[in-house]
């Protein structure tokens, strides 16, 4: 059928004569333009701006009371547990999942660490390893149910939350292990509470751990193949599967890693509150999800940056302390935090829109 072939070729061949790379008018940018451009490329800077803005605001309102090294490091210390858990939550949410069991895994891991040391007399290192293993295992089970049995993450982790929390209470018999006992017999459990001074500011190992964790995860998500797969799975799991990502394996890994991070949060929790208390961490779910969403990660998966989560957690921390310092009572603080969560995200949206 060469005649038809030619006829089709005849006009199409006109296309091959010349080629030029597209060049559109490049409009000039001033400072604002450049800022917009930076924000456009690094959306996690948006919550950073909100964070800096809120620090500035409270700084102006409260002066040195707020701008003291004490207050500022206090925020970091208050945020550390939520920050660590929110890092785990970010991973899961990036895959378009959600993990309601983070708080339960955290507190159960800490209980395992404590009880294994005190009830069974294991060396703290082993007990801690067991705690971390338990957290990872629960996470992996979540992942298995989500990836293999194809259950919705919300349901899996909701069920797991109840299961782990109930197990936690049944196993620990609701008994607290006292700070003094831990200090005397297994100080390693309190490692994350160890303090050191950095120019007047008191940091704890837990705070440093949180910061390192977030930066390591940011690196992994951005600069390794695994990280890209996490985004792809969250973005469109079908497309990811078709284009060669082992979606199931990635999901299981993400949930397991989230479990491990929560177990670390459990260890950090012992450092923070001194004791091992089975009733801790009941708000960790909602607080971690809040941090993630304020930080700009989409609950529909695949979009956002884990640095944003850190800023999100800090924004809430700044507001909470700032309001208390301004003398708002507990109920009013609660109300105002609600307002400010909405406002923070509204500002965030607005900046994004402006930076187009």
């Amino acid at each position: 059928m060469s005649e038809t072939t030619q006829s089709s070729d005849s006009y199409e061949s006109a296309a091959n004569r010349a080629e030029r790379v597209a060049e559109f008018e490049q409009h000039n940018r001033g400072f604002v333009g450049r800022l917009q451009h930076i924000l456009h490329l690094n959306p996690s800077f948006v919550p950073l701006i909100v964070l800096l803005g809120s620090i500035l605001m409270f700084g102006l309102l409260l002066g040195s009371k707020f701008f003291s090294p004490f207050a500022l490091t206090l925020i970091l210390q208050q945020v550390q547990i939520v920050g660590i858990v929110a890092a785990a939550q970010s991973l899961v949410i990036l895959t378009a999942g959600i993990d309601l069991s983070v708080g339960a895994i955290m507190v159960f891991s800490s209980v395992v660490m404590g009880q294994f040391t005190f009830r069974y007399g294991l060396p703290p290192t082993i007990a801690i390893a067991c705690g971390l293993a338990v957290g990872t295992a629960i996470g992996a089970l979540n992942g298995w149910l989500v990836a293999r049995v194809k259950l919705p993450p919300f349901i899996v982790t909701l069920g797991m939350w109840q299961i782990v929390l109930a197990t936690n209470f049944l196993y620990s018999a609701n008994e607290t292990i006292r700070s003094q006992d831990i200090e005397a017999q297994a100080p390693l459990l309190q490692l994350f509470g160890a303090k050191f001074d950095v120019g007047g500011a008191v940091l704890t190992v837990g705070v440093v751990f949180m910061l390192i964790l977030v930066f390591v995860l940011a690196y992994v998500l951005k600069h390794t193949a695994w990280g890209r797969h996490v985004y792809a799975v969250g973005d469109d799991p079908e497309a990811a599967e078709l284009s060669g990502v082992n979606v199931k394996r990635t999901l299981i890994q993400v949930y397991a890693l989230a479990g491990l991070i929560c177990a670390f949060a459990g260890w950090a929790l012992i450092g923070r509150i001194g004791s091992v208390s089975p009733t801790s961490g009941q708000l960790a779910n909602i607080e971690s999800i809040t941090a993630v969403v304020i930080g700009g990660i989409s609950l529909f998966g695949g979009r956002g940056s884990i640095l944003g989560t850190l800023f999100g957690a800090l924004i809430v921390g700044v507001f909470t302390l700032g309001l208390r310092l301004m003398g708002a009572d507990a109920q009013w603080t609660y109300l105002l935090i609600g307002l400010l969560i909405i406002a923070a995200v509204a500002v965030d949206q607005w900046i994004r829109k402006v930076s187009g």
């Binding site: 038809t4 091959n16 080629e19 792809a232 973005d235 284009s243």
Partner: protein, 258 residues
């Protein structure tokens, strides 16, 4: 000669809809096989069944004469079958480069790559840029643009570039030029010829008869979920092909047997 990729008696049902109805399929080594048929005839379902994207309800698939049962597209890809799906299978929020290298990323050499498993973005970007230029997709201004911001044709170009760059045994293209411009379509046809000259067989699904007749060695006519016949483009006219696929004409006995 033994077909390199063979399907026998493939059945795929979706609820009340039967997409594949005891369908056979053969791809010979080194050939360009076009698959044509009406909308909804089951062409995409067929290639999904042979590339691991759906698991057929019945029937068997053979690669190089050996029975294979791909449980995921990854299995097929590992066996050297690269596919451009009609839906393109790209992650909208990720960049062009990320999408092209999804699942086979290049790591940096040395410590950063080996131990910190860092990706070699520069190398990947260069490779991606080159492949897109080969296809004449010059209007893509920014190789790190998210795929969701590309025009329909640009997106398709990226998917074709990916398959052509990585396919080693069989390349399957499901309507690769549907959204492409004249120039870009030409480039894809050239690319197909080029891949064929490297000895890699190609399955091409297309509704563009001139294109099909230009490049195909054999044409598989698909109708109502099964292979109606296979015709030789040198012995039949486009009108014949169209008449066959729309049911206006019955196939000759020897074609139907093929």
């Amino acid at each position: 000669m033994e077909p390199i990729l063979k399907g026998r008696n493939l059945v795929k049902r979706y609820g009340r809809v039967t997409a594949l109805d005891h369908c056979d399929f053969d791809l010979m080594p080194g050939e360009i096989l076009a698959v044509i048929g009406d909308n909804g005839a089951g062409k995409s379902s067929l290639i999904k069944a042979v590339s691991g994207a759906v698991i057929p309800d019945e029937g068997e698939v053979f690669l190089n004469g050996e029975k294979v049962s791909f449980s995921s597209p990854m299995d097929a890809r590992d066996a050297g079958i690269e596919t451009v799906y009609q839906t393109l299978a790209m992650s909208p929020a990720l960049s062009i480069t990320d999408n092209m290298f999804m699942g086979r990323e290049i790591r940096k050499s040395g410590f950063m790559g080996k131990w910190l498993r860092q990706l070699d973005r520069a190398a990947m970007e260069k490779f991606a840029r080159d492949k897109l230029n080969d296809l004449g997709l010059m209007t893509i201004q920014n190789i790190n643009q998210a795929v969701e911001t590309l025009s329909g044709g640009q997106r398709q170009g990226v998917a074709v570039a990916r398959a052509a760059a990585f396919g080693s045994k069989v390349i399957i293209l499901d309507e690769p030029t549907a959204a492409l411009g004249v120039k870009e379509s030409r480039k894809v046809l050239e690319l197909i010829q080029d891949v064929k000259s490297r000895g890699i067989p190609i399955i091409l699904i297309s509704h563009n008869m001139p294109h099909v007749f230009e490049v195909a060695d054999r044409i598989h006519v698909h109708r109502l979920g099964r292979r109606l016949c296979v015709i030789d483009p040198k012995k039949h006219t486009m009108s014949d092909a169209v008449a066959l696929m729309t049911g206006a004409k019955e196939p000759d006995a020897q074609d139907a047997a093929a």
